[in-house]
């Protein structure tokens, strides 16, 4: 699992669903130990409530999201529109199975398990995932491997 990078972040708000609460609390304890302020929030019921929580965060905060894909995506989009940069938002993935690679040839989004080469399920071209991540497609852009 990728570690949340908090080099330039002094305050972290953690959104979590009930089912991930213990992981979120563990993470909060870790952040607090290294001197960061942490706030754990149970995934709000309404978008307005989530937006209010995000917009009241101090400048330079980070967002950690523990939850299922749909709710995580909503919080991520709200955080981006509140002014967080994509480098300040981290979505917990309980495994790397749901990483996605965007085929630059046919645009199919493939499920991938690592940043290793993979073959596109549609056009069968060999692809290398790049570090360019699309928040819109929630996938890493993958380029064809020549030779």
């Amino acid at each position: 699992m990728t570690e949340f990078r908090i080099d330039n972040i002094s305050h972290v708000v953690i959104f979590t669903t009930q089912s991930y609460l213990s992981q979120a609390n563990d993470s909060a304890r870790k952040q607090t130990k290294v001197g960061h302020k942490c706030e754990v929030v149970i995934m709000p019921n309404t978008i307005d409530e989530a937006r209010q929580i995000l917009t009241r965060q101090p400048l330079g905060s980070g967002v950690l999201i523990y939850g299922e894909e749909d709710s995580s995506q909503v919080i991520e989009h709200l955080a981006l529109s509140a002014g967080f940069s994509k480098h300040e938002i981290w979505i917990n993935k309980s495994s790397v199975d749901n990483m996605r690679g965007f085929c630059s040839q046919c645009h199919l989004i493939n499920e991938i398990s690592s940043f290793e080469f993979f073959e596109c399920e549609n056009c069968h071209i060999k692809l290398q995932p790049s570090n360019h991540y699309s928040t819109y497609h929630r996938a890493y852009l993958a380029y064809p491997v020549i030779n």
């Binding site: 965060q57 400048l59 905060s61 002014g83 940069s85």
Partner: protein, 314 residues
């Protein structure tokens, strides 16, 4: 090298005891448009001087407007403008450059200005108001009488300006309070005397605000190298050596040796004249490179080597 335009002084207005506003027009040619936060360079007998444009880029009608505070010695650029330049005169200006642009990804722009450092924010605020974007100005002039644009700004931005007419300690306390309460989505911009900008930037760092949200307009390098010494430079990929004299910049020495290197601001702000440092110790004097970048890069316009350094230029 920049082209320049001959512009005519259409209007000179005395705004405060020591600040004048100059409006330049061209009757011959269409002046280039500019972005909020841009400056122009005036070619004056004592050298080139940069001044922020203060008009709204969206309302520009072939004119550049600047405000100049008379400071320093008689032979300075501001004194020359105040005393020698009158309506109808012609001056040479380089086209606008912008090293202090607005960050359009910001949800809220927060400006901190002191003294004549208000000037870049005048074009920015006018521009943001035209677009309906959110901003606020925190302005610390020395007194109400010394506050240029006081009535104009109050009329245009009645709810967006906070003035700091108070003693230095109270001013600092109030500025800290404001900075402490900034929320996500804000970008901070500061312009004014060096001590004021240092105070804002240092406190932002103390609060842990990432550098990418803090923007400064410096018309001078961040520091001044006292008693500069000559140094020798090996340009590894050109197989050449140059000696940089104590009164010369590395950029000038390279140009003199006919080694081309692009440049723009000459003040350690824009990063155009960046070179790779392969070996040796460098006295960095720019406001552009990060600490990480300073390990193997330098700006040739303001930074200097110690004794002997090796560099590579593109």
């Amino acid at each position: 090298m920049d082209d320049f335009y001959e512009v005519k002084v259409r209007k000179v207005e005395q705004l405060t005891a020591d600040i004048k506003r100059y409006t330049f027009i061209s009757e011959r040619t269409e002046l280039p448009s500019f972005g909020a936060g841009s400056h122009i360079t005036l070619h004056l007998p004592m050298g080139n001087r940069q001044y922020s444009l203060i008009n709204n880029p969206l309302d520009m009608e072939n004119e550049y407007v600047i405000a100049v505070k008379k400071i320093g010695q008689q032979e300075g650029g501001s004194s020359y403008l105040h005393e020698k330049i009158n309506e109808g005169d012609v001056v040479k200006v380089s086209p606008p450059h912008n090293y202090f642009p607005l960050r359009l990804e910001a949800k809220h722009h927060v400006f901190f200005a002191a003294g004549i450092g208000i000037t870049p924010f005048l074009s920015m605020m006018a521009y943001l108001k035209s677009l309906g974007e959110s901003f606020e100005l925190h302005y610390a002039p020395s007194s109400e009488d010394d506050c240029p644009f006081y009535n104009e700004m109050n009329e245009m931005y009645p709810n967006q300006i906070i003035y700091y007419f108070m003693a230095r300690d109270s001013k600092k306390k109030k500025l800290k309070e404001t900075l402490k309460n900034l929320k996500v989505g804000a970008h901070i911009y500061t312009c004014g005397p060096q001590s004021f900008m240092d105070f804002i930037v240092d406190y932002c760092r103390e609060l842990g605000y990432p550098k990418k949200y803090i923007h400064e307009e410096r018309f001078k390098p961040a520091k001044v190298i006292e008693n500069p010494q000559p140094f020798e430079v090996t340009i590894e990929n050109k197989k050449k050596k140059v000696l940089v004299q104590e009164d010369q910049s590395l950029l000038d020495a390279l140009h003199k040796a006919e080694i081309p290197l692009a440049f723009a601001c000459r003040r350690g702000i824009c990063g155009t004249c960046e070179v790779k440092v392969c070996n040796g110790e460098v006295l960095h004097n720019d406001a552009f490179l990060t600490d990480d970048e300073k390990r193997d890069k330098m700006l040739a316009c303001v930074s200097r080597g110690i004794d002997h350094i090796s560099i590579a230029v593109d």
